[in-house]
Symmetry: C2
Amino acid sequence: MNPLMLIKIISILFIILSGFMAVPAGIALFCREALPFVAFAETIGVTVLVSSVALILLRKKRADTLSTRDGFLMVTMTWVMASIIGALPFYLSGAIPSYTDAFFETMSGFSTTGASILTNIEILPRSMLFWRSLTHWLGGMGIVVLAVAILPLMGIGGLQLINAEAPGPTVDRLTPRITATAKLLWLIYIGFTVAETLLLMAGGMDLFDATTHAFGTMATGGFSVKNRGVGHYDSRFIEGVITLFMLIAGINFTLHYRLLTGRLRRVARDSELKAYFLIFVTMTAAVAFSLHGTSYATVGECLRYASSQAASIMTTTGFSSADFEQWALLGQIMLFVLMFVGGCAGSTGGGVKVMRLVILFKQAINEMRLLIHPRGIFTLKMSGSMVRKNTVYAVSGFFFLYAAVLLAVTIIVASAGHDITTSFTTALATVGNIGPGFGKIGPAEHYAFYEGYIKWALSFAMLAGRLELYTVLVIFLPRFWRG
Amino acid sequence: MNPLMLIKIISILFIILSGFMAVPAGIALFCREALPFVAFAETIGVTVLVSSVALILLRKKRADTLSTRDGFLMVTMTWVMASIIGALPFYLSGAIPSYTDAFFETMSGFSTTGASILTNIEILPRSMLFWRSLTHWLGGMGIVVLAVAILPLMGIGGLQLINAEAPGPTVDRLTPRITATAKLLWLIYIGFTVAETLLLMAGGMDLFDATTHAFGTMATGGFSVKNRGVGHYDSRFIEGVITLFMLIAGINFTLHYRLLTGRLRRVARDSELKAYFLIFVTMTAAVAFSLHGTSYATVGECLRYASSQAASIMTTTGFSSADFEQWALLGQIMLFVLMFVGGCAGSTGGGVKVMRLVILFKQAINEMRLLIHPRGIFTLKMSGSMVRKNTVYAVSGFFFLYAAVLLAVTIIVASAGHDITTSFTTALATVGNIGPGFGKIGPAEHYAFYEGYIKWALSFAMLAGRLELYTVLVIFLPRFWRG
C-alpha cells in the first residue's frame, strides 16, 4: 500500500472535479441563482484548498508504480469522495434539504444509475440540474479514465486503474500507450455527446435541455431535467435520437474506435455486438407484439415505445418515454428480463453485460456437448478468438456475486416492509445502474420514500454495480489489508 | 443410439411402475372405490400388455452397454412416459376431469414439485390421493435408480443413468458396484420413510395420512392429503417431525450412509452440509426475527413457523404449516431468497443445490484473491479435497442455464397476463421443484387457474428442473442427434 501516493493522486482528481464544478457555478452566476452559486463556490473553494495543501505537502513524493491493490482502493475512494463532495452543492444550496438524499442523488448520478429522490425535478435551479446531469457524464466514461488521459503522472499503473473503473471483463488497449487509449476513449465520448446535443437541438430542444439529455444518454444514466422525462417532449424525432444514442453508448467503445478507423470487418464479426443487437431486436419485437391492440393502437406507436424502452432498460439508461407499468404484463416482463442484461463490455452501460452472458451461454452449450462426447475438447470462442479459461472463471465468479448482491440488496430493501416486486427490482435497478424498476419505483415514480438507511445501502449498491462488484468488494476481504 | 435397447429397458421400467400402481388399486378395492379401481386396472392392464409384447418381441436383444446419449434419452423418455401413464388413473376415474390437469399433477408428483391443480384435495378418493403421494416417493429417489438397484440388466451403464437422474454435480459410488450403491440409496430412503411414518402415527395421524405425508416429506415433494396441508393437524409434534425429516431428505444420502456406517469424521467436515445448516439456521433466525411482534406473539411460535417454512422452501418440499403470504414482508423475502437455494447434491431436494452455491461462492472469493495477488495460485477445496476445474465449469454453466430457464418460464407465464411476482415465483417454484410461491400461487392457493399451454410449459419446467436441466436440454441440441 502506498497511502501518500493515493492522497496525492486523489488530490489531483479533486482539483479536476472542481474544474468541472466551475461550469454549473458559471451557469448559476449567469442565471443569477444566488444560493446555488454560493454553494458551488464554497464547495470548490474548500476542495481546491484542501487538495492544494495536500499536494504542496506531498510535492517531493515521486511518481511511483501503483500496485493492483492501490488501484482498487484509489478508484473506490475516489468515487465515494466524489459523491461526498458532489452532494455538497445540492445540500448547501437547499435544493435537496437532506444530506442523505443529496448523497444518494449524486451517487446515482456518478454511477449513471439515474434513480432520483426528487419528486419535482423542474423546480430545481438550472445550475443544479446541470450539475446533476454532469455527474452522469463524468461517471459514464469515468473520472479516473479521464485523469489517466490528461495527466502524464497517471500513466504509471494506468491500465489497472482503468480496469478497476471501466466496465467489462477487460479493456483492450487501443494503442500501445494507455494514456493514448484513455484519451481516445474520452474523445469518442465527447464526439458522440456533441453530435447528440446538436441533433436534439435540431429536434427542438434548447441548448440546456439538449446538453443535459445528451449527458444522460451517452453515460447511460437517465437523469432528465423534466418531470416526465423524455416523454415530456412527446416528439418522435427526439425519442429516436435518444434511442439511437442509448444504443451507441451501450456498445464497446473499442468498436467505435475501430469503426472510425475503418476496420469494419473486425466490428462485423464481434460476437458481443451481434448478441447485443439480437437481444435488442428480439425483445423490441416481443414488447411491440405484446403492446399491439392492448396499450397502443398502431404498429408504429408500438414499435416506437417498445424500441425506446427496450433500449433504455437494456443499456441501463432508464430514460422513460412511457410509463411501462401501465403496459400489458407481457411487455412489462420483457423489460424485467432485460434488466438482467446490460450493455456491452467497455461501454458506459451497466448490468451483467452482454459479453458475460454470451460467454456463459457458450460455456453452458459446451458443457452439454461434453455430455454427448465426454472425451471431446470444446473451446470457447468470442469474435473468432479463443477465450482463456481464466476469463470464464472470472465471469462465472462475477455472475454468482451479482446474484448474491442482488438478493442481499433485496433483503435490505424488504427489511423496511416493501413488497417483493419493489424490493427485487430496486436491487436490479440499483446494482444494474438502471434507475426505474417495478412496483413503487416504476418509471413514473421516484426513490424519495425510501428510509434513510435504505438510501445509504442503495448508494453502496449503485457504486458496487458501477465498479463491477470486484473493485469494491475486494476491499472487504481481510486478505486485502494483510502484508 | 440404440433404440431397441431403449424400448426394452423402458418396457421393464413400466412393468415395475405398474407393480407400484397395484398398491393404490388395492386400496381402491379395499375402500370400494369402483371408478378408481377400474381406472387403475385399465391403466395397469394396458401398460403391462404393451410392455410384455415389446419384451417378447425384443427377447433376443442382448444386454448392451448404453452410451451416455442413450442414458439421457432413456431417463427423459421414462419420466415423460411415466407421467403420461401415471396421469391416466386420475383422468379415467374422473377424479381430475381434464387430461392436461392430470398430466400436470402427475409430473408435479414425479418431479417432487408438489404444485397442485386441485382446489379441493379432500374430495378425491383415497386411492387417488395415495397414488398422488406415491408419485412423489417414486420420483424422489428416482425410478431409474430403483431399476438399477433391482435389475441386474441395468448394471451396464448404470452409473450414467443414475447421474442423468440423480440430483447434484456427481453421485459418489458408495460401493464399487453401482447396483449395490443404488440398492443402498433406496434402502436408506425406505428406512427414513418408515421411521417418519411411525413417528407421525405416534403424533396422532392415521396410517394413511402418515404414509402419504412421509412420501411427501422424504421426496421433498409437498403434496398433502389435506386442503390446509400440514397446518391441518395444528400439532407442534407433527410439524416438528416433518421439519426434521425435510431437513434429512435435503441432505446428501451418501452422508446418511456414512453416518450409518460410523464414519462420523467425514460427515462432520463436509463443506456442503455445513453450508446447508448455516443457511438454514441463519434464515430461520431471520424469519423468526421478522415475525416476532408482527405475525406471531411468542418467540416459540415464531421459531416454530419460521423453521418449518424455511426448511420447507429451502429443501424444495413446499409443505405449508402457515400461509406465509400473510407474514411480515421481510419474512416473505427471506423465503423468496431461499427459493434460490435448494437441497444438497445427492439429496431428494431440488433447486440450484447448496453444493453448487458453495463452489460458486468459493470461486468468487478466489477471483478476488487473484485480483489482490495476480500471480497467486488459489485452489478450490470442498470437504478438504480439491475441486477439479471441470466441475467448476459445469457448475457455472448450470448456474447460467438455471437463470436462463427461470427467465424463459417467467416470460411464458407472463404471456397470459400474470403479474411479475406470480410469473417469476412460478418459474422459481416449478424449475426448483418447490411448489408454492408468491402472488397467485401462494401456499394457500393452487395452479388450477393457469391456462392450458402454461400448464404444459410448467410440466416441462418441472421435469427439466428435476433432471437438473442438462439431461433434458441436451436432447434439444442438434449435435445430440448427429452421428
